[in-house]
């Protein structure tokens, strides 16, 4: 017969093959069902389960890891204020398939509400699943256009790019009124970047700054040499970047190294101290519009910042952690107020789960919350209305390794 080779002709054994096929299909069904059948916790006592599906692996894992911390801090903060809650965090990965499985896994654990997923890209795929199951899902970091519109049970605490992005352009023009031309870079294989860049480009056009170059990159790109040299030849005064911390950070560094002296504006995806280690001293001066500032002095934010710096050895909380915290807060506070509204002796846990979810969804959309992000509430559609936005400028320390997002004078929403 000779050596083992896959290129040898198979024997034909139809019956045995069919037998094996049926056996393996049967085994598969058992596996699939066994994997997902869990205790049915509808009704009775016990803590109310809250599920979170965030990106703990894959390209977006930096975001997910920030969110995990925010969620855990929120869980600890709201413990004891209201009905007992139990947080389960599943890995939603950075692709739609993993997120789908995470959501399904949490749904079969009969969660009362869902937080996630991390990426807008994933949200378009998985939010409909939660919506169809009648489970309220709050997006902590989905900023692309159209997400709350996915369904009545879908909402988000992360302000959409349409609101936040133009603020940084306005700030750039305020700081440097002599800007005459602009160029735009965005990661075309990412839903958030593409979405945000459209907003940026429109904001530029609205100010008579039609971009001299619109460059499409990829989130996995790291080398922008040729795109940069060609863009710089057209002499833009302002360059606007939509990307994630790694590709965006690289782009910023290379732009500066290749001699760009003008103003740089970055989008929401780069709203993270993770850019410091990538562009280092070249990050200095970068303008970013933010939905969160650790320097805000509201009581809840001070408590959040204190808890975060304690847990992370002095580091300052990033936006993604604050938004995750806020998402949990919305759910916890709404459940608290629902509990209060019940007749004496009744518990939320005793309600039929579907009924509880419905009430939760209706109530949370009507509430007003003092979160680390400032005061937020929702439109009937589930879109967040945030009172306060911030534009920050990155200021790097002399060592080039650490820095801060220094707040520019605040801009309230019109």
């Amino acid at each position: 017969m000779g050596q083992a080779s896959i290129f040898q002709a198979p024997h034909r054994s139809p019956r045995a093959a069919s037998l094996l096929l049926s056996a393996s299909l049967l085994a598969s069904s058992l596996v699939a069902c066994g994997n997902s059948a869990r205790d049915d916790r509808a009704g009775g006592t016990g803590p109310l389960p809250i599920g979170a599906a965030i990106a703990l692996t894959g390209n977006a894992s930096v975001i997910g890891q920030d969110q995990r911390i925010g969620l855990e801090l929120a869980r600890d903060h709201f413990q004891g204020n209201g009905p007992a809650l139990e947080l389960t965090i599943e890995d939603g990965g950075s692709d739609e398939g993993t997120a789908t499985n995470a959501f399904r896994s949490l749904i079969s654990a009969d969660v009362v509400a869902l937080i996630g997923p991390s990426l807008s890209q994933q949200a378009f795929a998985v939010d409909p699943i939660a919506d169809r199951a009648g489970i309220p899902v709050i997006g902590p970091s989905n900023t692309a256009t159209g997400i709350p519109e996915i369904g009545p049970f879908v909402s988000r605490v992360s302000a959409p790019v349409a609101q936040v992005a133009p603020l940084s352009i306005a700030a750039a023009l305020r700081l440097n009124p002599k800007i005459r031309s602009a160029a735009v870079f965005y990661a075309q294989d990412d839903a958030y970047s593409t979405s945000e860049s459209k907003i940026f480009q429109q904001a530029l056009i609205d100010r008579n700054l039609k971009p001299v170059a619109v460059i499409r990159t990829s989130v996995s790109d790291t080398d922008f040499q040729s795109q940069i040299t060609e863009t710089l030849r057209r002499n833009p005064d302002l360059i606007v970047i939509s990307g994630l911390p790694s590709d965006g950070g690289n782009l910023v560094r290379q732009l500066r190294e290749l001699g760009f002296k003008g103003t740089l504006v970055a989008g929401n995806g780069m709203n993270s101290p993770n850019i410091y280690s990538i562009c280092q001293r070249f990050c200095d001066g970068l303008l970013i519009a933010q939905a969160y500032s650790p320097e805000s002095t509201t009581p809840i934010n001070r408590a959040f910042v204190a808890a975060y710096t304690k847990a992370r050895g002095g580091a300052v909380p990033p936006q993604f952690s604050a938004q995750a915290f806020a998402a949990y807060q919305v759910i916890a506070e709404t459940l608290s107020s629902l509990q209060v509204s019940l007749p004496a002796g009744a518990t939320l846990a005793a309600l039929p789960r579907a009924e509880l979810r419905r009430r939760l969804n209706t109530a949370l959309l009507k509430g007003r919350y003092q979160t680390p992000l400032g005061e937020i509430r929702f439109t009937p559609e589930g879109e967040v209305i945030q009172k306060q936005f911030y534009v920050a400028q990155v200021r790097m320390n002399p060592d080039g390794r650490s820095g801060r997002f220094q707040l520019l004078p605040t801009v309230p929403t019109p």
Binding site: A9, R12, D91
Partner: protein, 315 residues
């Protein structure tokens, strides 16, 4: 409550495994499967969201999409993929071995980048809110199961009829086959086209199942994973890829409790698998063993004596 989502994913994995297996059965390692999968999915996404006549806009939640429309999409995807595969095959199948593999990888990448850049496919955001023919995953599971059984039956028929025998001969020794008058070109192309058909149809079902579609659905990662199905499951009979597809799709999900180590365990499995089972899990010898171990009356009723004999090397 039975959650059949994983089951559907496993069945789709098995189908994709078969798609990779078909050219391999003819001696060619083609990794074009994800490309045709993407074409099928994109076609389904576009048709169901844009062509009102197919009944996609009937309800706000997108449910109740007629099954006839689904079948129509599958037919169109099959035709499109078949025509494309025929054309591409004429050009690409002249290459042999690793060169063919790399050429197919290049094609898949080109397709992915082009569809990322086009507005009609929705770019990076992709197309979402794809109408649902089935309300529950259980519906998809049954449908996909039917599809899988159909394709398995086709593979079995192929194996025992002329095209399949020709392909097996080409797989064994291409030059010897050519010199005995077998039309190499033709059968290679057929295998390639069949592979594309299966992948395309699979893509249609997946697009509806996943509810959203974007250009990242068919990429190099998918090539490697589907290849692993075949290599792990067994590449000498069609049942190998099915078992491989079912098992390796389930594995990362089953390993969820292991948490962060999940992917490492998956890596270990595909690292050690080929050394322990060089021909994959399901080999013809295994099938013969299975046949042999059944009680004799059962063997006789299933007419398995021939299988035993083959496995034992007797004429």
């Amino acid at each position: 409550m039975i959650d059949s989502t994983l089951l559907v994913q496993m069945l789709l994995g098995a189908l994709l495994g078969l798609s990779v297996y078909l050219p391999l059965a003819c001696g060619q390692l083609s990794l074009a499967t994800p490309g045709f999968y993407a074409i099928g999915g994109t076609l389904a996404a576009l048709l169901s969201t844009r062509v009102r006549a197919l009944g996609g806009g009937e309800s706000a939640s997108g449910s109740g999409y007629p099954i006839t429309s689904l079948l129509l999409e599958m037919l169109l995807a099959a035709v499109l993929c078949g025509v494309l595969a025929n054309g591409i095959g004429a050009v690409v199948l002249r290459l042999r071995g690793i060169y063919l593999t790399i050429a197919t990888i290049a094609l898949v990448e080109i397709l992915r980048v082009v569809s990322l850049n086009l507005t009609i496919t929705g770019g990076a955001v992709g197309i979402f809110a794809i109408p649902q023919p089935f309300d529950q995953p259980a519906g998809y599971a049954l449908f996909t199961l039917g599809l899988l059984l159909l394709v398995c039956w086709l593979c079995q028929r192929l194996a025992v009829t002329r095209p399949g025998l020709a392909m097996a001969a080409i797989r064994d020794d291409e030059i010897a086959a050519a010199s005995s008058g077998i039309a190499i070109e033709r059968w290679k192309r057929l295998a390639f086209v069949l592979s594309a058909l299966v992948a395309g149809v699979c893509g249609v079902v997946a697009a509806h199942f996943l509810n959203a579609w974007n250009p990242r659905m068919g990429n190099f990662d998918a090539s490697i994973t589907t290849l692993a199905f075949v290599v792990f499951g067994g590449s000498r009979t069609w049942i190998g890829p099915v078992v491989g597809g079912l098992a390796l799709t389930a594995l990362p999900e089953l390993l969820r409790p292991v948490g962060d180590l999940r992917l490492i365990v998956f890596g270990l499995v595909i690292l050690l698998g080929p050394s322990l089972f060089p021909q994959g899990l399901i080999t013809p010898e295994l099938l013969a063993n299975v046949a042999r171990r059944l009680p004799l009356p059962l063997q006789q009723s299933l007419r398995l004596e021939k299988v035993r004999a083959q496995g034992e090397g007797k004429p």
